[in-house]
């Protein structure tokens, strides 16, 4: 019974993350931030986005990392450079957020064998 309840909560959480509409890239990154805190707690607190992406890539999380790199540049220009908040690329970011969340609910990030 408890297992079924946990699975139901998991499915609902996934749907919630997927259904969440974001209007700008800043909102998308904010969703990603939350899903990283929940789904990838092994990321060091002091990681920059670039470092976090590198680690996620190394952990086997699949994404179009080259496109994510471009999206990150646009977001950083907004975040630190005072450019307008872009709208391009927000789907990739929320998609990545979902994948990370799935990692926790499913098998988690792949671990390298020692």
């Amino acid at each position: 019974m408890a297992v079924l309840a946990a699975a139901a909560v998991g499915v609902l959480a996934l749907r919630g993350a997927g259904a969440r509409k974001v209007d700008t890239l800043a909102e998308a990154f904010s969703v990603l931030e939350r899903s990283m805190a929940a789904g990838a707690p092994w990321l060091p607190q002091g990681s920059t986005w670039g470092e976090a992406f590198e680690r996620l890539k190394g952990a086997g999380v699949e994404a179009d990392w080259s496109k994510m790199g471009e999206t990150l540049k646009a977001y950083e220009a907004f975040r630190y450079g005072g450019r307008p908040d872009p709208v391009e690329g927000k789907e990739e970011v929320t998609g990545l957020a979902m994948k990370i969340q799935r990692g926790v609910l499913g098998h988690g990030p792949k671990r390298k064998s020692v």
Binding site: P44, R79, Y80, G82
Partner: protein, 309 residues
Amino acid sequence: MDLRERVSEQVRTVVIGRDREVNLLLVSFLAGGHVLLEGVPGVSKTVLAKSFTRCIGVDFKRIQFTPDMLPMDMVGGFVFNMKDRAFDFRKGPVFTNILLADEINRAPPKVQSALLEAMQEFQVTVEGQTQALPRPFMVIATQNPQEFHGVYPLPENQLDRFLMRIEMPYPDLATESALIRRNLGEMDTDQIKAVVSGAELAEIMDGVQKVKVSDEIIGYLATIAKESRGDARLSLGASPRAMVHLTHCARALAYLEGRDYVTPEDIKQVAVEVLGHRLKLDQSAVLVGQANDPGHIVSEILTRVKPPR
């Protein structure tokens, strides 16, 4: 080709496997600071400094520091002019754009102190008269950390004047092989050409000044400083000057990356070189084996301080 690539390519014709160090030298130069190159003898510290300077195409002078040096050997002094029957100021080697201070820890404290004024104030004072130094002015000092005889270790206040300390380790196996092969012929820094004009350099330095540092980034820098001061393994944390220097370096790096704003990544890339030499380990932490390298502590602090994301 951007400035960084042009400089690295030229330096590579003489010095192999030092791209990282060349990049850091360029960042320091554009940030308007001084560099301490630290490494055992024979790791190309002096050749690297000479090669870099030739690439930049500015005036360059070298002083080989010795324990019997006097301040006037560096800053110059007044000499009697028989013709005019007056004392004329004869400029010393410090009047240049880039001064290579070779084996700085061999200089006695009085000379180090005179250099301190030049580094901090961009001027020297001789017999009560102050003389301004040409700009840009950068000191690239070298020292061997393994030397204990006939040396005067730099005091904390002088170390704090250096924007960066760049450690030069031994080269890896492949680089060492390439280096030996290269040195079978002549290794001549005279073959290095200037890759930037004075006007372009002025424009670049002006561009660096315009790189934006957001409030969030400033808050991140202040948190790093606070963390270093509260670390029990350190008896001396990062000074406000250290944090200002770190900001200047991050701006220069951002400019070289083609951006007009600083990211947390820029800060993390240069933090160890900018902060490491200014932090003082707590001796009790050293004795119990909790700490032996301030650079590692800087890296740890950066791992736990959350950057603005």
